[in-house]
């Protein structure tokens, strides 16, 4: 049977009187690609911060990689990978330096880091770029590298926050193939995106609106349910039901 890596029951997060997450309920299974969609301000970022151990819920039960989100946030952080759009790698360090740094932070030993470094460089065909500064790399390459670094330590789950924003269409697809490959190794991928076609790449998606989850299913079934031809259509039909 499917192995649950994230379980969320009645999650509520309040900031003062503002309810950012209003009674969320969902589960994510091992090796799944789970898409987390919703408008800006719907509560996605708040939920992701809780799941990645960066903040604590107001109430409800949240378990990530087998750890409790209230008392075991440090353990959660050790067992997940995280990549956000605004920052992922240090721009004034080289490719190699970044990998070694993060390897150290994840607690990997030297030989393992070296091994993964070589594998990574080969996979991305980056061997010539080993000693280049991140700031010299084009955006697409940076994003691919950032993703690889986020899963360097083979975590159980990796959180990706709008990883393909502004990237060219070819690189975007290459990126998603990397995501597929990662998921096939058993790593769960939790991703948010504004590209609706990318939602289709996911095994299951959830749509958040005003703090609540208003849809949660496979893209196929959602399209059937809302009589839509694309996830974008589903999105629009949920937001403007007329």
């Amino acid at each position: 049977m499917n192995n649950t890596v994230i379980s969320v029951h009645n999650l509520v997060k309040k900031f003062g009187s503002f309810v950012a997450n209003d009674n969320l309920n969902f589960e994510v299974f091992a090796g799944e690609i789970f898409g987390f969609l919703g408008a800006n301000g719907a509560g996605k970022t708040t939920a992701i911060r809780i799941l990645s151990g960066l903040s604590k819920p107001t109430s409800g039960e949240v378990n990530v990689a087998g750890f409790d989100a209230y008392r075991q946030t440090e353990l959660i952080k050790k067992n997940i990978g995280y990549m956000c759009q605004k920052f992922s790698l240090y721009e004034d360090l080289t490719v190699k330096e970044n990998i070694i740094l993060y390897g150290g932070i994840y607690g990997m030993n030297k030989s393992l880091i070296k091994k993964r470094l070589d594998e990574l460089l080969a996979k991305l065909q980056f061997q010539d770029y080993e000693n280049r500064m991140i700031s010299d790399l084009p955006l697409g390459l940076r994003q691919k590298l950032a993703f690889s670094v986020a899963v360097l330590h083979e975590p159980k789950i990796v959180f990706l926050d709008e990883p393909t924003g502004g990237v060219d269409p070819i690189t975007r697809r290459q990126f998603w193939e990397m995501i597929y490959e990662t998921a096939s190794r058993g790593i769960t991928v939790f991703v948010t995106t504004h590209y609706m076609d990318e939602a289709e790449y996911c095994d299951r998606i959830s749509i958040m609106s005003e703090g609540k989850i208003v849809a949660l299913d496979t893209p196929e079934r959602l399209k059937k349910q809302y009589n839509a031809t694309s996830v974008e259509d589903v999105f629009i039909k949920i937001a403007r039901p007329n």
Binding site: Y90, D92, I105, N109
Partner: protein, 369 residues
């Protein structure tokens, strides 16, 4: 542990690759030592002294020469009567006036006693104290020399010391005007430099540029509100000085306010100029606050008199607006002078304001590059 070391290594890499950080780390301490070492000195050098010699005899001549050749003082003027005293202090170059009584030499020889007055400019209490101390020491030295065993008499010259303008040598007479000078330039320059770079950072400047607004309109539009509000600020500061420190305004209040507003205008335009060379708010804050603070505190004559510094620092100080405003504000508040004595400094501030405004308009980029 490995994690920790890896992180420390990264921090070293960041530092070495960022020239700005290196500059702050090594450049600024070096600069500070140089400045503190030379500019800050508690000795006096070339302090201006004027002489009112009512006796004109050999003794007074000898004593005058001794004082001048000591290296601590330089003679500014020879006064003719008591009325000149106030005037010479107001001119600003004289820190002390030495008055020899009539028949000084005769009295010394016949009665073994003569009177000498030292009147010092109390608006710079530190300098005043030093000047009177040094003078007293020189006089005592002279006494020792003069009392040769042959005369078989001990003579006494007791200098009578008076502090003008600040009889009790209250340090905040020096301190508060200086602080006003410092605060006004820092805050005003900071405000305008930040408000412009903020628009650059948030992107709203782009939209302003693609509009009928002309650079001069944008600049004056930024300056105007702060100018008006700073006027209230000035009133507040002066009121506080009066009520809390008892600092009077001996001269004309209207003149003082007018000069303050000129200084504020100059500072605001300086801030605009800073914004034209800053790419973001952080840089603007750094230049306005830190870049202006040190020179103003150390080199403007605020605490440490400019005369005591090597000539080089004097030249550096002459491009600093606070140097001139301190003279203005001390003159009006403590010495009670009129416009006549400060017209030069006022003129310089006006020129500076115009230069800053002109440069800002020219450097104001109408395009994004």
């Amino acid at each position: 542990m490995k994690r920790f070391l890896g992180f420390v290594k990264k921090e070293f890499l960041h530092i070495f690759r960022d020239y700005r950080t290196l500059f702050i780390l090594f450049g600024i301490p070096a600069a500070q030592i140089l400045i503190f070492g030379y500019a800050v000195s508690t000795d006096i050098k070339n302090a201006g002294v004027a002489f009112l010699d009512l006796s004109h005899d050999e003794v007074t001549q000898k004593l005058t020469d001794k004082i001048i050749s000591s290296g601590f003082f330089k003679k500014t003027e020879t006064l003719l009567n008591y009325n000149d005293i106030d005037k010479v202090f107001k001119k600003g170059k004289t820190k002390a006036v030495i008055i020899f009584e009539q028949d000084f030499g005769k009295n010394l020889v016949s009665e073994g006693k003569a009177n000498l007055s030292v009147i010092a400019d109390g608006s710079e209490p530190n300098t005043a104290t030093l000047v009177t101390n040094y003078t007293t020491a020189i006089v005592n030295d002279f006494v020792t020399e003069f009392s040769s065993p042959a005369l078989n008499k001990s003579i006494v010259i007791s200098p009578e010391v008076k502090m003008l303008y600040n009889p009790n040598l209250k340090s905040h007479f020096m301190f508060v005007p200086g602080v006003i000078t410092l605060i006004l330039i820092l805050i005003c320059a900071l405000m305008t430099s930040v408000t412009i770079t903020r628009e650059k950072e948030f992107g709203t400047m782009e939209v302003l540029l693609v509009s009928p607004l002309r650079p001069i309109q944008i600049i004056l539009g930024k300056v105007m509100p702060y100018f008006i509000l700073s006027f209230i600020n000035v009133l507040l500061i002066l009121a506080l000085s009066w009520f809390v420190f008892g600092l009077p305004v001996k001269g004309s209040l209207a003149l003082l306010l007018a000069e303050c507003m000129l200084y504020i205008l100059m500072s605001l335009t300086l801030g605009i100029l800073i914004s034209t060379v800053s790419e973001n708010m952080q840089q603007a804050i750094f230049i306005s606050l830190i870049g202006l603070m040190l020179p103003t505190v150390l080199l403007s004559g605020f605490i440490f008199p400019i005369e005591n510094m090597p000539k080089v620092y004097d030249y550096v100080s002459s491009v600093l607006p606070p140097r001139y405003f301190i003279v203005i504000i001390k003159n009006i508040m403590i010495k009670g002078t009129g416009f006549m004595y400060i017209w030069k400094e006022t003129f310089i501030l006006i020129i500076m304001t115009l230069v800053f405004t002109g440069l800002s308009v020219r450097k104001f980029k109408i395009r994004l590059e």
